[in-house]
Subunit: 275 residues, 2 copies
């Protein structure tokens, strides 16, 4: 099964385009877990158990594990997710970007060590920094395209004089990912939810790619506008929410609260299709 | 001491602009170490011991450790380098690039967990993806600018219509790093050695920044042209060589062979100043 097929299967089975981002911050952990970096696995596993039937994907962010020497806990978490939610693809959010031989090592890290189904990548170093990941034919890769942070403008929103049609840099990335870079249909794009008109633009340039859309929830993107701009029946959108779900409650009911918030967000997104 | 001062001190003490890149590949390890991922620390420590008095910096590439679950060995190696070569700054080559809260985690990883003196970063997500690293005032950050791989052209060499003077994207990055992004003088740039005229161009736009220049050695850049284009008496260049030094011999004399190759490369670079 390809990564795209995995996404479509999870989308159908769970009627969901919600991705739960696993960005564990011990200082924000609830109740007895608070401040304890040895409980990253426990916290994340509880979130996974509470939301697994409501999501299209999980997205662990590797920085939050690396800052706490918690690679071992991430390995255990990946195993746990595959066991309790075998249908749900796992996107390792690592935003790697390096040349061939080093990229090969990062691909081993993501796909062999952690067993991720897809990874996020930076396109800044060009096609040969993406290619090593594509050798894993059943795996996917989401390229940074248009990010919703303030600094996202600094490079991504510059207009290119040297490319036909004078696209913005992020539009050029979208075209490359839809076209010449997408050797085996494994690529997707990361597009922030803050500017729905940019999601619309990316969707026009990349009609068949899955879009990973962070920024709904804590970052404040508009869920309705996001879905309207990005959703296509044949090209999944993966709408990420992290903090709003992880830290929905600071009490011992955090897992139930996370589930409630996940279900609420799933419904919000789903209803936007009809609206 | 700032990172720039550290570089200048090592440059003067060791009369060197050579950086040894630590990209350990167990399959290429010499003699009895060959294929043994538990010997990553031993291999790298032997290289460090053999070359410490001949370098301006060491540059471990984190992907080679992460692919082998060797974060613990990297931690030990960092400690070893600080102990046997306290004068030599350590650049953690990680090419991170993510937004504020996640970037903060990566900064903790690089500067607090591993104790690196500088890190390599991707500028693709803009200034607020760089800023969290600058809060560590004694640390440095090298931004990817113009990389020497084939795909480096794909984005970095595009001309920007929307910026005054229509620079290429990498020229725009150089200007940002020399100017508005360089709040406390902590930034440097990564520029490949393959095209010396591009180093010259970057040097013109960023006259005072340290340049990290990979691609001499195995990647085949021209050392003389590189030094002529980039070296300034008041702005260090850090010329990286990895494989040509690490794997100079496949026998038990690998450390001596690495030292000989390091000394040879140091001299080659040094002589280019006079030439």
């Amino acid at each position: 099964m390809t990564f795209l097929q995995q996404l479509q299967a999870a989308q159908t089975a769970h009627q969901s385009m919600l991705c739960v981002g696993l960005d564990p911050e011990p200082s924000r952990f609830p109740g007895a877990l608070k401040g304890n970096a040895n409980k990253i696995y426990d916290f994340c596993a509880a979130i996974v158990d509470a939301t697994a039937d409501a999501v299209i994907a999980f997205k662990p962010q590797i920085a939050y594990f690396a800052a706490h020497r918690a690679e071992g806990q991430l390995e255990r978490l990946m195993e746990h997710m595959r066991r309790v939610a075998p249908l749900v693809p796992i996107i390792l959010d690592a935003k790697r970007g390096d040349i061939g031989s080093t990229a090969e090592q990062y691909a081993i890290e993501a796909f062999e060590r952690y067993g991720a189904d897809a990874v996020t990548l930076s396109p800044f170093m060009g096609f040969d920094s993406v290619q090593p990941y594509l050798k894993y034919h059943d795996k996917g890769a989401f390229l940074l395209c248009r990010t919703s942070n303030k600094g996202g403008d600094d490079l991504q929103n510059q207009r290119l004089a040297s490319v036909e049609g004078q696209p913005l840099l992020y539009e050029h990335v979208a075209k490359l990912a839809q076209g010449p870079w997408n050797l085996n249909g494994q690529l997707g794009l990361v597009v922030g939810a803050t500017y729905p008109n940019e999601i619309e633009r990316v969707r026009k340039l990349a009609p068949t790619l899955p879009l990973l859309i962070p920024g709904v929830g804590a970052q404040g993107g508009d869920a309705l506008a996001t879905v309207r701009a990005g959703w296509r029946s044949d090209a999944p959108i993966v709408v990420n929410s992290s903090r709003a779900i992880l830290y929905a409650s600071s009490g011992d009911d955090f897992a139930q609260a996370a589930r409630a918030e996940a279900l609420r967000t799933r419904a919000l997104l789903h209803n936007a299709i009809a609206a």
